[in-house]
Amino acid sequence: MAVAPETMIEAHGLKRVYRTRGKAIEAVKGIDLTVKAGEIVGFLGPNGAGKTTTLKMLCTLLEPTGGTAKVAGLDLRADPVGVRRRIGYVSQSGSTSELARVGNEITWHAELYGIAPKAARERAEELLSALDLEDVWDRKCAALSGGQRRRLDIVMGLIHRPQLVFLDEPSTGLDPQSRANLWTHIRKLRDDFGTTVFLTTHYMDEADSLSDRILIIDHGTIVREGTPKELKKRVSGDAITLTLRDTGDAEAAAAITGALVGASEPNVEGNVVRIQVQDGAAALAKLLKDMNSIGVEAIGVEVAQPTLDDVFLALTGRTLRD
């Protein structure tokens, strides 16, 4: 089957079984996925879901134990070297030696792609300043902060201007400002160079604000996929969170939520009550009135649109927090 050039990743039944001490761990259980050129796809899942394993297979770092994949137009098994030329990979666990100087590490890495040191330096300076990493060229990698080192990993992964980049939890360890900055840069990569981005994350806000499309993986299988909007639509209604004075009040408040039309089972945790309703604003007005009539007063009230967190919770019955 001829793959249209606009398909960057096409995997069928991709599977990985790890064998350690006679025990077999099925980390990825035969997943299918398609990523179009120029897409930013978020790969979302809790710890141990199989995100890194999938990425490593697509990056030629790990041989699949089953299935086939075409990456950047080339067959993963038949032409791994060709795939490597076209992709960039930022691993979850870093990429630089503590003992090396930043500038050296970048240029040596570029040389392995056949980029001359001078050109490498020009590209690197651009990337470094885009990610707010100025004046680090002559420093040892060990002398960078965790977040700076993480951004250096990203610079290394982009130095050869790949058509497709895999970012494994790129924003781990970054402060909010650096994260926002990184997101801007990732969007720019796609908008200016048409780079396809496949990133894993367990941050809902990251997947939500950055990705065109989200794949949710759990226990080695893709449990749902869609645009952030589509996914959120599947979780019905708004979430109301009430904070009360004590657990007694919380129980009392939970008991009367049953009177609300279309409300979900209340979820009580200590003095906090959570419910989901169709129309948060209208339901809240009635709820507060009812509570007033039995003499229970809320000390905190929140109405929220559904988040991907809720999507994940609804799909797997677990939250995504690590």
């Binding site: 770092l61 030696s97 100087r101 050296n104 040596w108 040389e111 792609y113």
Partner: protein, 254 residues
């Protein structure tokens, strides 16, 4: 092939520069051969007078042993370095580049070989101060053998390090291999002094023949059978370890 050489040289330069930027490492590497010579050499002067001691003066017997030891122990522990590199993500990062897999290990081995040859030259130079006298050809020949040994042990150590990925597992493995080799090869004291059973055991140690060859080279017997056997064994060991090292590197993606 051009690609392979280019990639090996990049990896070589990288490891070399990183090593040289560490002053403690440089100092220790330079001092080590001199310490051996200064602290162990004087003992040997006395031993050289015992019957059964092989031909040549004490330095001609002792320095070749030290050189072989340098080749083995100078490279045997480089595997610790690759575990650290693997842990910091450097190995994976290099493996996603189109660089030749063989170059990723060979470049590193090349660094170790160059360092060991430099240490060998320092050792021989220092031995000259103590009274060693051998021709330039012998120095050259002796260094070739040391380079072969260094390459073999560097490949083996990288293979073991990357296969085990644990310092705690690598240390006992290396010790349990290197120690018997050291004791049985007559590196420190010639096996001609040993009782019969020990000599038979030592005949089974391939490194004994390399030590013998190194001593023959020091006596300027370049084309003697002893030299040829030792060098041939060294070449076979290098080829085997290079094969093993490359195998382990390729197995990383399995």
């Amino acid at each position: 092939m051009r690609r392979y050489i280019h990639d090996s040289l990049v990896v070589f330069r990288r490891s070399m520069v990183i090593s040289l930027q560490n002053p403690v490492w440089v100092l220790v590497s330079l001092m080590q051969p001199i310490l051996y010579l200064a602290l162990f050499g004087p003992l040997l002067q006395a031993v050289a007078k015992t019957p059964g001691f092989p031909p040549g003066d004490a330095w001609q017997v002792f320095v070749p042993g030290l050189l072989v030891q340098l080749g083995i122990f100078g490279a045997a522990f480089v595997g610790f370095g690759i575990i650290a590199e693997w842990r910091s993500g450097v190995i994976d990062r290099m493996m996603v580049t189109p660089a030749s897999r063989t170059a990723l290990i060979t470049g590193r081995v090349l660094r170790d070989v160059v360092i060991i040859c430099l240490q060998g030259i320092i050792l021989i130079a220092a031995a000259f101060l103590f009274g060693l006298r051998i021709p330039l050809a012998a120095i050259f020949g002796a260094l070739i053998v040391v380079a072969l040994l260094g390459a073999a042990f560097a490949y083996l150590s990288y293979a073991a390090g990357l296969a085990l990925k644990s310092e705690d597992a690598l240390a006992p493995l290396l010790n349990s291999i290197a120690l018997p080799i050291l004791l049985l090869s007559g590196i420190l004291l010639p096996m001609t002094l040993a009782p019969r059973w020990l000599r038979i055991l030592s005949d089974l140690d391939p490194f004994k023949y390399i030590v013998d060859a190194e001593r023959a080279i020091f006596r300027s017997e370049y084309w003697s059978q002893t030299t040829e056997i030792g060098v041939a064994i060294a070449i076979v060991i290098v080829l085997l370890s290079a094969w093993l090292g490359n195998l382990v590197f390729r197995q990383q993606t399995k």
